[in-house]
Symmetry: C2
Subunit: 258 residues, 2 copies
DNA sequence: AAGTGGTCTAGACCACTCT
DNA sequence: GAGTGGTCTAGACCACTTT
């Protein structure tokens, strides 16, 4: 992988030229995923620039999500986690009837090991947004279920579910372990047969708290997805607010032409 | 907006402490969107640190998408473009029958001015990926339609459509101006009544070329969406490969419980 | 101990915007 | 011309990993 030189007479700043050369080395797989980029010292010597200039170039590629650095070890080409393809059928009733929650269904479909941690359950007043999505009056409470999902031990998703207390209070929905098939199975057992879902998708960079919870590398965005589940009388029975590591997911939808 | 000081005895690096203080000033709206952050000189003086340390703090917030800098003017709290809410009904036949293409329908729904530029049309060999999505044999060609969409003059989306040449060649589909209702209207006139769409969504940071074409600020991800349109005999009749500025869109989907 | 990246300083010169 | 951010240098010390 022969890196060239920087053209000091060019208008393009040195650090951009260096970033460009490294980028194409990464993109062309001259440096494979998981491989190391030359050390900062080597890059300084090779290009004849100051250390800050090298670091500026590396910063560009980290922000693009191409490189990650590990203190004391080196700078590496970022490895992409296996992508999880999410389609509507992860919520299929047949999965619940087999005792599989949606996350288990989607995870085993990709041959990954699902797990859940940081489960917290409470009964609270809903925010105005949740109240309006669940069509609740001012006095009604909600069961709040907060948890983190991991695939093969790597955190990939933080989720918070809100279920009207009038449905969930005193049931397994309000317990940390909601039982086989997950909360949708419990909601259906309580007589609310699910009819449809809506999903609302926003994309942005993570807050520092989100980056920590999902152990995100620099340059990895998050998908903020809010799902509402409706029963057959078109009553909203659950809102699920999730933040996903964008590099770990691909979403697919099918819809009819109207 | 009283910024504090840095605690030099803390483990948390000075630039992180400065970034934290500026972040909460932005988040709490003490500095409103479009407002300016104190200049680098002012921040140096206030915190008693070197310029590079200030710039490191600002870099953090730019990567988070909170700040943008303008050479010679200052550093500003990023203004969010009006969000465009995309739902399945933007492809409704009634819009085509009124002569509105999907982008026009979604744009006017948000009271924005739609426009299109950088239109290029050609007939080419498809890549392996496109060939397989369109279910074509090795010799078939495709009409390639490339263009950029703008809302109120701001670029928000780059799109490339691929239509089998057996359908589009010699029609308005192969001309820069595809006529009222867009290419879906032309495809239906040619006897391929549309039945359904699939959309596949990936999220990542932009390449430098994408960032330039969409004039993206640092810290703004892109949504890569690939849509396939199927006619009533379930034949794929178009693939549309789009890259969208993530801060300009919200996607919504509805799907039945199965 | 040697090598790596992380933080920070103090200075320089340049390009751009505004008045 | 004054003020702003953009690029770059040369050095220092620290924290972490590996041998």
């Amino acid at each position: 992988m022969p890196l060239g030189q920087v053209d000091r007479s060019s208008d393009r700043p040195a650090f951009h030229q260096i970033a460009d050369q490294l980028r194409s080395a990464v993109m062309s797989n001259e440096i494979p995923a998981g491989g190391t980029v030359p050390s900062e010292t080597q890059l300084m010597d090779h290009f004849g620039v100051a250390r800050n200039t090298v670091r500026q170039a590396l910063q560009v590629l980290k922000s693009e999500g191409l490189l990650v650095s590990e203190h004391g070890r080196g700078v590496f080409v970022r490895e992409r986690p296996p992508v999880r393809r999410l389609a509507a059928d992860r919520f299929a009733r047949r999965h619940r009837e087999q005792g599989k929650a949606a996350f288990v269904a989607e995870t085993t479909a990709e041959s990954q090991m699902p797990s859940v941690d940081q489960i917290r359950v409470s009964i609270d007043r809903p925010t105005a947004d949740i109240r309006s999505r669940l069509d609740l009056n001012a006095r009604e409470r909600v069961v709040v279920r907060d948890r983190r999902y991991l695939a093969d031990g790597k955190p990939v998703e933080k989720a918070t579910s809100y279920i009207p207390a009038s449905i969930g209070r005193g049931t397994k929905i309000a317990e940390p372990d909601s039982g086989p098939g997950g909360i949708y199975a419990r909601i259906e057992e309580l007589g609310h047969r699910l009819a449809r879902f809506t999903e609302e998708i926003d994309v942005r960079m993570p807050s520092p708290a989100e980056a920590a919870a999902l152990r995100l590398a620099a340059g990895v965005p998050v998908i903020h997805l809010v799902r509402v589940a409706y029963d057959e009388s078109d009553r909203p029975v659950e809102v699920c607010d999730t933040v996903m590591a964008a590099d770990a997911f691909q979403l697919t939808y099918t819809f009819p032409a109207l």
